[in-house]
C-alpha cells in the first residue's frame, strides 16, 4: 500500500522556507563569520589591547551612537550591511532569472505572493540573524569591558536602525529582482536605483549650486542620503561621524529614520507582490526588458552622463557657455543612454525601438543644464522686497577676517570628536557656518542692499573686487525663507559689506568680549600695533570686570567711520581659562558649553584698540598701563611685501583659526616666507618706517580695500599689500598686516612692480602696481 505525505499549505510554505535556509546555510554562516571578524572581534581586540596598555586605555574611544564600533568595524560593518542584502536578495531571486528554475518554482503549488514572502522572510533571516548575533556579542563585550562612551540604549537603537534599513534594502532590491529578466540586469538596475538615483540628485544639486549665482546646497540635501536604503546606513554611521553627527546622532532622528524605512519596507513589499503577480515567467533570461524601473535607471544614467560630460567639456574648453553646455549635455546624455541600452539589450537592435526614450535621455540633461544656465526661473535675481522680510540671518567675513561657526549645533560633535582623539582645530575646520540674526531694521536694510547690489552687479556683469564671503537667509513674513551664498562681490556691495561690522547685533553676536565673564579670564596681554612691546597685565577679577565692561561700551559705540579711519594703538588679548563658558553663541543660546583643553590657540578674545576706545584707554591708564602702544621702529630689520590676493589672505586666515589670535598661530618663520610666492623684501629703513606707520592691523577689515579706481586687476583681488615684519631682536615674531599701496614711495612701488613681474612671469597675471602708479600720478 502506498502512503502519501500530507502537505498542507502552511507545511508547503514552511517547507519552502526551511529548504531555502538549509540550502543557504553555508553562505549565511560565512556572512556571520565575516561580520564577526570585522565587528565584535574588532571591538574585543581593541578593548583588550587598551587594557594591556595603560596609555591606550586612557585614549581609546569607541564610536557610533552606542560606542560599540572601532574605525575599522564602522567601515566594514557598514559596508556589509549595505552589500549583503543586495547580494542575498539577488541570489535568492535568481530563480526568476533562469528559465529552468522558473519552471520549477512557478510550477509549485504555491501562490506568487506566498512565494515572494517566503523568499523575503528567508533572506531577512539569513541577514538579520547573523547581524543580531554579532550585535549581541559586541554589546555584551562592550558592557563587560565598560569603556566610557558605551550606551546600551544607543547600541540597541543602532541595531534597530540596521535592522530596519536592511529590511528596506531587501524590499527595494526585491522590487528590482522581480522587475528584471537576468541576473546581470538585476545587478545593474539594483546598483543604478540604489546608488545612481541619489548620485544623480546630488550631482544636479551640486551643478546647480556651482552654476546658479548665489545658490548653495539646501540644508535638506544631506537628508537625500536617507532616501536610499543603500546610502542611509553609510550616512548614519560614517558621514555622521563628521560634521553632520550633531543632527543624526540623536536617538529621535535615528528612530524616525528607522521607523520610516520600516514603513517603506512594508510599502515596497506590497509593490513587490503586485509586480511579481503580474510578472510573466517568460521574462526569465530575457534581456532588455523594458519597464518603468528600467527606464528610470537608464534615464538617471543619461542625466548623470549628460551633466558629467558637460562638466568635462566645460573644463577642457575653459568655457561655461550655454550652447556649449547644452550640446555637451545632449551628447553625454544620448551617449550614456545608448551605451546603457546596448549593454542591457546585449546589442544594437533595440536602439531604433527605444528612440522615444533615447529622446528623453537626451532631453533630460539638456533641459536641466538649460534651466540652470538660464537662471532657474529667476532664482539668481530674486531679492525679496524689504517689507516682506521678517528678519535675516547672515554669516560673513568680519573685520577680524573670520567667518562664524555654528558652535551651538556642533557642540556634541566637538565632544565626540574629542573623544575620538581629534583636536579642536579639526572641529573648527569642519564646522558649518553660524548665522548672525539681524532683526534691526537698519541692519536688515543694509543686508538687503548688499544682496541687491550683488545681484545687480552680477546682472550687469560687473567684476567682483573682493573674495569676500556672505551667506544670508531671509525669514519672510509669509513664513517662507530665501537663502543665498556669495563669494566675491562688486565694489558697491563691498563697501556696504564693511559696514556690517558696525551693526550692534553683529558685534554682540560675533565678538566674544560680549560673553566673556571676568572669572573666566586666565590671562591678559597688551601689544602694540605691530604685535610688539608685549605687556603682560595682572588685574584683579574686579578690574577685569570693569575692563570688559569698558571694552563692550567702546566696541558698541564704535562707528563704521571710526573703524575705517580710527588711529590704531594696539591690541588687548583676553585669554579665557580652560573649561570656561566662552563663545558668545554658545553661552547665549546653549548655556553649559565648556571650552575644551585642546582649544588652546583658538581661544583668545582679541580686541583692536583705536584712539576711539576712550573708556578702555582711560581704564588702562588708571591701572597704570599707559604706553603699551609704543612702537620701536628701529627694531624692524626688514619686511616682506606681498599682494593681498585671495590666496594670500586665505593662507593667513587659515592659520589663525576662528575668532581669536594667538601669537604662536600667527607667527611664521622666515623659511616659510621664502616659499611664499610674490614676496618682495624691503630693507630700506625709510621705507620700513613708512610701512610700519601705514600698516593696518588684523582687526581692520582688509577684505574690500580698493584704491577707488574703476579699473581692477583681472584676477579680482583688491590692491592691498600684506606686509610682514621681521624684528632685529631675534624674537622671530613675524606678523602680517595690510597696507594701502598708495602710501609707498614711487621707487618702492616700481621695485614691487619689477619683483611682481619677475615672480609671476610664467602666468598671465596683470600687474597691479602699474595701476596703482597710474592712479597716484593722476592724483598728483
Amino acid at each position: 500500500m502506498i502512503t502519501t505525505t500530507s502537505s498542507s499549505n502552511r507545511g508547503k510554505l514552511s517547507g519552502l522556507y526551511l529548504s531555502i535556509l538549509r540550502r543557504n546555510f553555508g553562505v549565511t554562516l560565512l556572512y556571520f563569520i565575516f561580520q564577526f571578524l570585522f565587528f565584535p572581534l574588532q571591538y574585543i581586540l581593541s578593548a583588550t589591547d587598551a587594557l594591556k596598555n595603560q596609555n591606550a586605555a586612557g585614549r581609546i574611544h569607541f564610536i557610533g551612537m552606542g560606542g560599540i564600533y572601532t574605525g575599522i568595524s564602522l567601515f566594514f560593518f557598514t559596508a556589509m550591511v549595505i552589500v549583503a542584502p543586495i547580494l542575498f536578495t539577488m541570489m535568492q531571486y535568481s530563480f526568476l532569472h533562469q528559465k529552468r528554475s522558473t519552471d520549477l518554482f512557478h510550477a509549485l503549488p504555491i501562490r506568487r505572493e506566498q512565494m515572494l514572502l517566503v523568499n523575503f522572510a528567508a533572506s531577512a533571516t539569513m541577514i538579520l540573524v547573523p547581524m543580531a548575533l554579532n550585535y549581541a556579542v559586541t554589546i555584551i563585550a562592550a558592557a563587560s569591558f565598560g569603556f566610557p562612551g558605551f550606551s546600551l540604549l544607543g547600541a540597541l537603537a543602532d541595531a534597530f536602525s540596521a535592522f530596519c534599513l536592511t529590511l528596506g534594502l531587501l524590499a527595494v532590491t526585491t522590487l528590482v529582482s522581480v522587475s528584471t529578466g537576468t541576473v546581470f540586469d538585476n545587478l545593474v538596475y539594483t546598483v543604478g536605483l540604489l546608488f545612481g538615483v541619489p548620485s544623480a540628485i546630488f550631482l544636479c544639486l551640486g551643478y546647480a549650486a556651482n552654476d546658479l549665482f548665489g545658490c548653495t546646497l539646501p540644508d535638506w540635501s544631506q537628508y537625500l542620503f536617507l532616501a536610499s536604503p543603500a546610502t542611509a546606513p553609510a550616512y548614519l554611521r560614517i558621514a555622521a561621524q563628521g560634521e553632520l553627527e550633531q543632527i543624526t546622532s540623536t536617538p529621535g532622528f535615528l528612530l524616525g529614520v528607522s521607523l520610516g524605512w520600516l514603513a517603506l519596507a512594508g510599502i515596497f513589499l506590497l509593490v513587490d507582490i503586485g509586480v511579481y503577480r503580474r510578472r510573466g515567467s517568460e521574462l526569465a533570461g530575457k534581456t532588455g526588458y523594458s519597464s518603468v524601473l528600467t527606464q528610470l535607471v537608464k534615464l538617471t544614467g543619461a542625466l548623470i552622463g549628460g551633466v558629467c560630460f558637460t562638466l568635462l567639456v566645460r573644463s577642457v574648453a575653459n568655457s561655461e557657455g550655454l550652447l556649449l553646455s547644452a550640446v555637451s549635455a545632449a551628447v553625454g546624455g544620448a551617449l550614456i543612454y545608448c551605451v546603457a541600452e546596448c549593454v542591457m539589450s546585449r546589442g544594437f537592435k533595440t536602439i531604433k525601438t527605444s528612440a522615444p526614450y533615447l529622446g528623453a535621455g537626451l532631453a533630460l540633461p539638456v533641459l536641466f543644464v538649460l534651466m540652470v544656465g538660464l537662471g532657474w526661473f529667476g532664482y539668481e535675481g530674486r531679492v525679496p522686497t524689504l517689507d516682506k522680510i521678517e528678519s535675516v540671518e547672515i554669516n560673513f567675513t568680519d573685520r577680524y577676517g573670520f567667518t562664524h561657526y555654528d558652535f551651538d549645533a556642533s557642540r556634541k560633535s566637538l565632544e565626540r570628536m574629542q573623544k575620538n582623539g581629534r583636536n579642536a582645530y579639526d572641529y573648527y575646520s569642519l564646522e558649518t557656518i553660524n548665522e548672525i540674526l539681524l532683526a534691526d531694521e537698519k541692519a536688515r536694510e543694509l543686508v538687503h542692499d548688499i544682496h541687491q547690489d550683488i545681484v545687480n552687479g552680477h546682472e550687469q556683469e560687473e567684476k567682483n573686487v573682493s573674495g569676500a564671503y556672505i551667506t544670508l537667509e531671509y525669514k519672510l513674513k509669509s513664513g517662507g525663507s530665501l537663502k543665498r551664498s556669495y563669494y566675491g562681490m562688486p565694489l558697491l556691495a563691498g563697501e556696504k559689506y564693511n559696514e556690517l561690522n558696525a551693526c550692534e547685533e553683529v558685534k554682540v553676536q560675533t565678538h566674544p568680549v560680549y560673553s566673556l565673564k571676568p572669572s573666566d579670564v586666565r590671562e591678559i596681554t597688551l601689544l602694540n600695533r605691530l604685535m610688539g612691546n608685549v605687556t603682560p597685565v595682572s588685574f584683579s577679577e574686579g578690574q577685569i570686570g570693569r575692563l570688559i565692561e569698558a571694552l563692550r561700551e567702546d566696541m558698541s559705540a564704535e562707528t563704521y567711520e571710526q573703524m575705517e579711519n580710527g588711529r590704531e594703538l594696539g591690541y588687548l588679548v583676553l585669554t579665557p581659562k580652560y573649561g570656561a563658558e566662552y563663545f558668545s553663541y554658545t553661552s547665549m543660546r546653549k548655556p553649559g558649553f565648556v571650552l575644551p583643553d585642546e582649544s588652546d590657540g583658538y581661544d583668545a578674545c582679541y580686541v583692536l584698540l583705536t584712539e576711539n576706545y576712550e573708556s578702555t584707554l582711560a581704564l588702562l591708564g588708571e591701572f597704570g598701563y599707559d604706553g603699551f602702544e609704543r612702537v620701536d621702529y628701529d627694531n624692524i630689520e626688514r619686511a616682506y611685501i606681498t599682494l593681498d590676493a585671495y590666496y594670500n589672505r586665505d593662507n593667513v586666515m587659515r592659520i589663525q583659526g576662528p575668532y581669536g589670535f594667538d601669537r604662536s598661530d600667527l607667527a611664521q618663520n622666515e623659511e616659510m616666507l621664502s616659499y611664499n610666492r610674490g614676496n618682495t623684501e624691503i630693507t630700506d629703513p625709510a621705507v620700513l618706517r613708512i610701512l610700519a606707520e601705514a600698516v593696518r592691523g588684523n582687526a581692520q577689515n582688509a577684505v574690500v580695500q580698493v584704491d577707488g579706481s574703476d579699473k581692477q586687476p583681472s584676477w579680482g583681488g583688491s590692491i592691498t599689500l600684506m606686509v610682514t615684519f621681521v624684528s632685529k631682536d631675534g624674537s622671530n615674531l613675524i606678523h602680517t598686516f595690510a597696507v594701502n599701496p598708495k602710501v609707498l614711495p614711487e621707487a618702492t612701488l616700481l621695485e614691487l612692480k619689477d619683483s611682481f613681474n619677475r615672480q609671476w612671469s610664467d602666468e598671465n597675471v596683470e600687474d597691479p602696481f602699474t595701476l596703482v602708479l597710474e592712479r597716484i600720478r593722476s592724483e598728483q
Binding site: I2, T3, T4, T5, G15, S19, K99, D103, A107, E282
Partner: protein, 300 residues
Amino acid sequence: MIKAANVVKFFDDTRALDHFCTTIEDGSIYGLIGSNGSGKSTFLRLIAGVYRPDEGQVEIEDAPVFENPLMKDKVFFVSDEFYYFPQSTMDEMAAFYAKMYSGFSWERYRKVGGMFPIDPSRKINTFSKGMQRQTALILGLSSQAQYLLLDEAFDGLDPIIRTALRKILADDVARRGATVIITSHNLRELEDMCDHVGLMHKGAIVFERELDELKLGFCKVQAAFKPLPDMDRLRGELEILQLETRGSLLNMVVRGESGRVLEKLSAYDPLFAESLPLTLEEVFINEMEAIGYDYNNVIF
C-alpha cells in the same frame, strides 16, 4: 480533464499559441508532437501554471490552473531543461518535493528509484544528462500527481529505461487514473507509449486522434502476384493510400482493418499476402495527407 479553450500566448511579437483548443481526457497518455517552436512546451507550461495565457483559458477539472495551488498540486511538470538546487542530491530534491506536493510518496520514490541505476545520495550535478533526466522522471513519478507533464522527457533514454518507464506510466494510468502528457518532436519516441496523439503546428493542434483508432483505420499489406492483378479493379475495391510495386511484389497502405483487406486480396489469388506493422509515422503521413496537410512540411 485538461481543457484548453482558445488559448493565445505571445512571446513579444511571436504568437506561440494561436487560439489553441484541445481536451485531454483523464486516464490517458497523450503524446504531443510537433516541430521545434510549434508550441508544445508552451502548452505544457500553461497546464503547469508556469505561464499565464494572454487569451483563453487552461483548465484542469474545470478550474483555471494559473495561480491555483489546489490544481497545481495535482500537476507535476518535468521540464525539458532540468533544474536542481545547486549541490543537491536526489534525496534532497525528493525531500523538497515531498513538502510541496501533497501526493508525494516516499514509498513510491524508493520503489521507482530502485528501478533505475541512480545513487540518490550522489550530487545530481555529477550525473550525466540521461541520469539527470531519469532523476526528474523519478521525482515526477514519486509526486503521484494526477497530471504528469513530460516535456521531451523520454528523448535520449535507452530502451531498457524506456521500457521500464512505459510500464510505470501504464501502471499509473491503470491504477490511479493518472493523465500523462508527453511531448516530443519525434513520433517514434511516442508510438509505443501513448494512447492519444496530437500534432501541433504553428501554435495550434492540427490533428489529434486515439492511437488505436488511428492504427485500426489503416493497414500495411505486402502481397505477391503472378501476374499482377488489374490495378484499377484493385483500387476500386480497396482504398489504397500508398502503393509501391517491385516486380511482382506489392506494398500497400490501405484504409481499413487488415483482416478485411487480406480477405479482399485473397480474391486476386496472391502468391502470398500478409499484414505488416504500421509505424505511427506512417499512420500520420497518411492521415495528414487525408486532411490536406503535407506531413513532411509539418514535422520536419
